[in-house]
Amino acid sequence: MSEVLLDVRKLITAFDTDAGLLRAVDQVSFSVKKRQTLGIVGESGCGKSVTAMSIVKLLPQPSGRIIEGEVWFKERNLATISAAEMRKIRGNEIGVIFQEPMTALNPVHRIGKQLSEGFILHKGMNKKEAWDASIEMLKLVRIPAPEQRIGDYPHQLSGGMRQRIVIALALACRPDLIIADEPTTALDVTVQAQILDLIKERQEQLGTSMILITHDLGVIAETCDEVVVMYGGRVIERAPVDEIFHNPRHAYTKGLLASMPHLDTPRKTILPVIPGMVASLQDFVTGCRFCQRMKREGAVLRERPLYQEISPRHWVEACPVCVESL
C-alpha cells in the first residue's frame, strides 16, 4: 500500500516577469502513494495549479520554469528530464484532466481522432485498433451510443459529456497517475456527482493514483485520502483527510473551514471570516505569509517557519503564531 509513486521534494517554480523572477511555488514537498488520491486545496493564486503544471512540465513558456527541487516519478526525476522524454510520459503514464474541457479538446478534430492519437503515439496501435480502443474508452466513461458519438466534434456535446471525453483521454493509456485540475468546477452539481463517481470507480478499477486540485472542500472531503493545503505558494498543512477536517492545526486551514457556510450552519448568521486577502506574488514576505495577511508584525514575517511533522503523517508550516501548542 505504502509504495510511493510520486515524490515532490522542495519544488520551486518561478516566472520571469517585469518585476523580476517571482516564485509561484516556493519549496513545496509532498508525495503520492500507489492507488491514493491526494487533494490539493487553496484559493486562487496559492500555486496549486502551477504545482500541477510543474509536475507535467506544462508551464507557460518561456516565462515559467522549475528552478529548484526534484519530482521523482518511477525512478526518474521529472524536473530534469528532456521535453521529448516528458512527452512519452505525459498522456501515457501520467494523464491530465483540466477544468475547462473545451480548451483541452481540439475543436476541429473529431472525438475519435483525439482519442486515437494517444493509442497510436504511446501504444503503437494502427488506426483501426486505436479507433476500436477509443470506442471502448467511451463505453468506460459511460457515453451513450459511443459508435455515433465518436464521430462528433467537441462542440456537439454538452459540458458534462465533454468532461467525460477529457477523462477518457486521461485514462486512455491506463496511466499510473492522473492529475485533475478542478475537473468539476465548471459543471453543475448533479453532473459533478456523476463525474466524481466515474473518476473514483475507474480509478479503483485500474488502480490509478490521483492528484485532485480544487477549491471545493466538499469535493476534497468526499474523494481524497490525504490533503495538502496551500497558501502563498507553500504547503502550510498536509494530513490525512479526516485530520484536516476534524483536527486542523494551521490557522488558515481552520479559517477556511469555518468561513464556508454548511447546510447545518444557522441561517442568516454572520459567518466567521478571514480578514484581508492574499498578498500579490511580488509582495510576499519570506516569513509566514498568513501572518502577513493578518497584518502581524515582527520576526514571523522575516523567518520562514519550519515545515515539520507534528504528529504522525500530519505536517504543518510551524509558524508559532498560526499553529497553537507546538
Binding site: D188, L217, S259
Partner: protein, 337 residues
C-alpha cells in the same frame, strides 16, 4: 400576510429559435415557463437550479431587462409587465441588480467615483457636493477605503469589485436587489466576507433579495425561502430550513444529495442522475424531470397540469406524479381540485 413587495404570476419568457435558409422561427427556448412567486419586504428568496434552468432569465425579466411573453410582474402593487422604458426608469431606484462577474459589469474606463455617482446623476439627485459625500459614505459602508474612489475597477481584486457592484446597487436605497450568482466567482474566504456584507445591509436597510445561485449551501445560508427551478419551471418552493430537511420533489432530493459535504465522516446516500439537463428548446411535454429519469408514469403527465400546489402550509410542489411519493401526489391532487 403583509402584501408582497414583488409578485410574479404565470411569467413566461420565450426566445425564438430561427433556422433554415429563410431563417424562419422553428421553435422557442422556453427559458421561463409559467413561473409564479412572491417576495415580501425585507425577505430573501433563494433561487436554485442547474445551468440552463432559466434562473438568470427570470431575474433579468423581473427587472425588465427581458420582455416577458406572458404573465404578470407586480412591484409594490403596480403592474410593470408592459411598462415602457421611460416608465421603468424611476422604478429602477427601487429595484437593482448585482451580477456574477463584477469585472464585466463595471465600466473599466470609469473611475469608481463616476461609477457610483452615475445612479444619482441619472435620477437627478443631489448637488455635486452631496454626491461626493454619498460616494464616500457608500465606499465606507461596503468596507473600501475612500481613496478607492479615484481608482479604476481593474485595480481591485474580485471581492473588492463585488463590493463596488454592491455599493452601486444600494446607492439609491432600493427595496429589492436581484442578485445573480453574486459570490460564485469568489474564493471561499472572500465569499464569506461578501455574504456577511449582504446580510448586514439587509438588516440595516430592510432590503429584499432574490438570490440566484447554484451553490446550495450558500443559498440556504442567506435565504428565508428557497425556490428550486428545473427547465424553466419552479418545481418546489418552501421555507429554507424545511426544503433542505424535508425535500418532497424528486429533483430537489437529487440536487441536494449531489452536494459534496465538507466532512469526510458524513455518510450519505447519493441519488445519481443519468444524463444532463435537457435542452429548453422544445422541451418534452409533461414532466421534464420524469422524462429525464424515464419514469414509468411519464406518459400520463403529458396532458396533465403540473402546477405548483400547496402540499403543507407554505410548502409548494409541482403536482407531478413522477416526482412525488404517491401519498404526496394524492394530497396535492386533492388540494388542486
Amino acid at each position: 400576510m403583509e402584501s408582497p413587495l414583488l409578485s410574479v404570476n404565470g411569467l413566461k419568457v420565450h426566445f425564438p429559435v430561427h433556422g433554415g435558409v429563410l431563417k424562419r422561427q422553428i421553435g422557442a427556448v422556453r427559458a421561463v415557463d409559467d413561473v409564479s412567486l412572491t417576495i415580501a419586504p425585507g425577505e430573501t428568496l433563494g433561487l436554485v437550479g442547474e445551468s440552463g434552468c432559466g434562473k438568470s432569465t427570470l431575474g433579468k425579466a423581473i427587472v425588465r431587462l427581458y420582455r416577458p411573453n406572458a404573465g404578470q410582474i407586480v412591484f409594490e402593487g403596480r403592474d410593470i409587465t408592459r411598462a415602457s422604458q421611460s416608465q421603468i426608469r424611476p422604478l429602477r431606484r427601487d429595484m437593482q441588480m448585482i451580477f456574477q462577474d463584477p469585472s464585466e459589469s463595471l465600466n473599466a474606463r470609469h473611475s469608481v467615483r463616476s461609477i457610483l455617482e452615475e445612479p444619482y446623476i441619472i435620477h437627478n439627485i443631489g448637488t455635486k457636493e452631496e454626491r461626493r459625500r454619498w460616494v464616500n459614505e457608500l465606499l465606507d459602508r461596503v468596507g473600501l477605503p475612500s481613496s478607492s474612489a479615484d481608482k479604476y475597477s481593474f485595480e481591485f481584486s474580485g471581492g473588492q469589485r463585488q463590493r463596488i457592484g454592491i455599493a452601486r446597487a444600494i446607492a439609491l436605497k432600493p427595496k429589492l436587489i436581484i442578485c445573480d450568482e453574486p459570490v460564485s466567482a469568489l474564493d471561499v474566504s472572500v465569499q464569506s466576507q461578501v455574504l456577511n456584507l449582504m446580510l448586514e445591509l439587509q438588516q440595516e436597510m430592510g432590503l429584499a433579495y432574490l438570490f440566484i445561485a447554484h451553490d446550495l449551501a450558500v443559498v440556504k445560508h442567506i435565504s428565508d425561502r428557497v425556490a428550486v427551478m428545473y427547465l424553466g419551471k419552479i418545481v418546489e418552493l418552501a421555507d429554507a430550513d424545511e426544503i433542505y430537511r424535508d425535500p418532497r420533489h424528486a429533483y430537489t432530493q437529487a440536487l441536494l444529495s449531489a452536494i459534496p459535504v465538507a466532512d469526510p465522516r458524513a455518510k450519505k446516500k447519493r441519488i445519481l442522475l443519468e444524463g444532463d439537463v435537457p435542452s429548453p428548446i422544445n422541451p418534452p411535454a409533461g414532466s421534464a424531470f420524469g422524462h429525464r429519469i424515464s419514469h414509468p408514469l411519464y406518459e400520463q403527465t403529458m396532458d396533465k397540469d403540473l402546477r405548483l400546489t400547496e402540499l403543507s402550509p407554505d410548502h409548494f410542489v409541482a403536482a407531478d406524479p413522477c416526482c412525488l411519493s404517491p401519498a404526496d401526489y394524492a394530497a396535492v391532487a386533492k388540494a388542486s381540485q
